[in-house]
């Protein structure tokens, strides 16, 4: 008898709980478990071509002497982590949050983040969008498909995009079109980037909240080391696969720390 009653109560309870709205996992706050107050700092990404500041429609030369221009230069970064290599202290700044850095938009080139007071000499991040967001349906914010960084016919994010022109391109209108994506095993273009600050420099997060690290992103690095990408042979990449992973191997090395201000 008691079993019947318990079963009925359990059934009722089941219906009640099924009416509760689930908490979105994306709302989970980042950072470590210690509830220290956090303060602002900025990661500023600066487009470069070798030592020059990236300017759209200006003619540059790649390592093979091929001339080209750039009209679009954007990429995702996320999973940002600060590390003090002496103490071993790690702080996860943006666990599972991804930002679209767009060289044409200064607001989208300066990412404001928060971390607790401390000094750090290494910045780690992921270039690309975590595979989970490539399989979990409709996303928002910087992952919104309105950003034009999402493949609709073969689901997944374009993790990095460089477009431009070159007289060496065999494409219509002499286009260069590198849309680099792929998240599945064997074709992932998601890369880890580890940047050590210049010798003797640290990122010192303070309650002033005005620290800033400027990171250069050199577009010319897309074309070499370790894989040679000649525009005359290869001016387009629009699918996951070996070409995409090769370019990702190259561009994972495009970042250097330019300056740190505290």
């Amino acid at each position: 008898m008691k079993i019947f009653i318990s079963a009925a109560i359990a059934t009722a309870a089941l219906f009640f709980t099924s009416c509760q709205r689930e908490v979105k996992s994306s709302d989970a706050s980042s950072g470590d478990s210690t509830q220290l107050p956090t303060y602002k700092f900025v990661l500023s990404f600066k487009g470069k071509v070798d030592n020059a500041d990236l300017a759209f429609n200006q003619t540059y030369q790649n390592t093979f002497g091929e001339s080209y221009t750039i009209t679009t230069f954007k990429y995702y970064i996320g999973d940002i982590q600060l590390l003090n290599s002496t103490s071993g202290k790690v702080y996860n700044v943006s666990d599972k949050t991804f930002y679209l850095v767009d060289a044409s938009d200064s607001a989208a080139s300066n990412i404001t983040l928060k971390a607790p007071v401390g000094t750090y000499d290494v910045i780690n991040f992921t270039m690309g969008v975590d595979s989970i967001y490539n399989v979990s349906g409709a996303q928002s914010g910087d992952l919104d498909p309105v950003k034009g960084m999402f493949w609709t016919w073969n689901t997944g994010y374009i993790m990095a995009k460089m477009e431009g022109t070159s007289p060496l391109s065999h494409l219509p209108d002499s286009r260069i079109q590198f849309h680099i994506g792929g998240f599945k095993t064997g074709e992932s273009v998601i890369r880890s980037v580890n940047l050590t600050l210049p010798e003797g420099r640290t990122l010192a997060i303070s309650s002033q909240g005005d620290s800033k690290v400027t990171i250069n992103a050199d577009a010319n690095k897309w074309f070499y080391n370790p894989h040679d990408i000649r525009i005359a042979d290869t001016a387009v990449c629009m699918t996951p696969g070996i070409l995409a992973t090769s370019i990702a191997d190259n561009y994972a090395k495009m970042f250097t720390v330019f300056s740190v201000t505290n």
């Binding site: 009653i5 079963a7 219906f15 689930e22 498909p145 689901t155």
Partner: protein, 348 residues
């Protein structure tokens, strides 16, 4: 004592039932929504779609329904989702081999019917789309289908007289976003469960096959069910079923997604539910009738390196057997699904 217990059970179950029916949720922005439940037919597996971040509500479903029938989602206003997905054809395109879209263009494929979508986790004939929520992005942005830009769709919906309040009612914000638009479309499509055909009624003991349907069912289980597994009538695999490549379309199927030559000419095994309503058949609609399709399997198989091993020698189906099979396949038509007014074009 037993009587008291029984009464108690009734009361508690009653409370639970009432709660479900009147279940009001307070969403973001303080909006009230009414929960809807998808009815999972007996014998069906657990759905593959994860409702955790997109529970179905009356408001979200109705928003999705309006979006499904609205040409605003296309570039010139002429191609709503419903232009290729017609309810009377189980949401496939009636009598069209290749579906067509913006500016008098053909696509390269036959539009499949839409039903029982929550049991899929790969979409399109080649399985290129991996989540029901992002499936609508493919036709909306394809230049030969709806030919529109997602940002433009969002702008058009935001400027519409009705949509902002419908988005607010469903999701708590009158700010139109692609994410909420896709969630609403998903809620509408998720509710499209088709499991009330004569076959289903027979399975439930509510009807009986006639002699030829019964004989057809026996043949089906023996000769077709390896790929068209019950109860979904597909095993959701990709197979080369012995068609030559159309040299003007050059559609290599699954290989386009995996990049693997062993996937050349493989396409998703379609469900046979509502098959008599969704002609023509195959990925490019080249087969005009069920009988012609059966003939293909008996005498038309074209050998190629990726041909499905089950079809190496064709399928032996006799003359009478063929017509029994057709009779059985017609029992998979769900007349209540195609007449269900919940899924019909809403009054604007």
């Amino acid at each position: 004592m037993r009587l008291i217990a029984v009464i108690l059970i009734f009361i508690l179950t009653g409370i639970a039932t009432t709660w479900v029916i009147s279940c009001k949720k307070t969403g973001e922005g303080g909006s009230q929504t009414t929960a809807l439940q998808v009815q999972i037919p007996a014998g069906f597996p657990a759905p593959k779609y994860n409702f955790t971040n997109n529970p179905i509500t009356k408001e979200g479903f109705e928003l999705g329904r309006r979006l499904f029938y609205d040409g605003k989602l296309s570039k010139d206003g002429n191609f709503p989702c419903a232009s290729c997905h017609q309810q009377f054809a189980a949401f496939s395109t009636f009598d069209h081999d290749l579906s067509h879209g913006f500016n008098n263009q053909f696509t390269t494929r036959n539009a499949p019917g839409l039903f029982n979508m929550i049991w899929l986790d790969q979409f399109l004939w080649d399985g290129g789309v991996n989540n029901l929520e992002v499936q609508p992005l493919a036709p909306i942005t394809a230049p030969n289908e709806m030919a529109e830009d997602i940002g433009n769709v969002v702008k058009k919906l935001q400027a519409d007289a009705a949509y902002p309040s419908m988005f607010k009612a469903a999701f708590g914000s009158d700010q139109v976003t692609s994410q909420n638009m896709l969630k609403a479309l998903t809620q509408f499509v998720a509710m499209m469960v088709s499991a009330n055909s004569k076959y289903d009624k027979v399975k439930r003991g509510e009807a009986q096959f006639n002699v030829s349907e019964q004989a057809g069912y026996e043949s089906f289980k023996q000769k077709c069910a390896a790929c068209h597994q019950e109860p979904l009538f597909t095993d959701l695999s990709y197979r080369n079923d012995g068609f030559s490549i159309n040299t003007s379309l050059h559609d290599v199927g699954r290989m386009r997604i995996t990049g693997k030559s062993e996937d050349s000419l493989k396409f998703k095994v379609p469900s046979l539910r509502n098959v008599a309503l969704t002609e023509p058949y195959t990925h490019d609609g080249r087969i005009l009738s069920i009988g012609q399709m059966i003939d293909h399997y008996t005498t038309g198989i074209i050998n190629s390196p990726t041909l499905d091993p089950l079809l190496k020698n064709g399928i032996q189906i006799g003359y009478a057997e063929k017509y029994n099979l057709i009779d059985f396949l017609k029992t998979l038509s769900d007349s209540s699904f195609i007449a269900d007014t919940r899924f019909s074009q809403p009054q604007q």
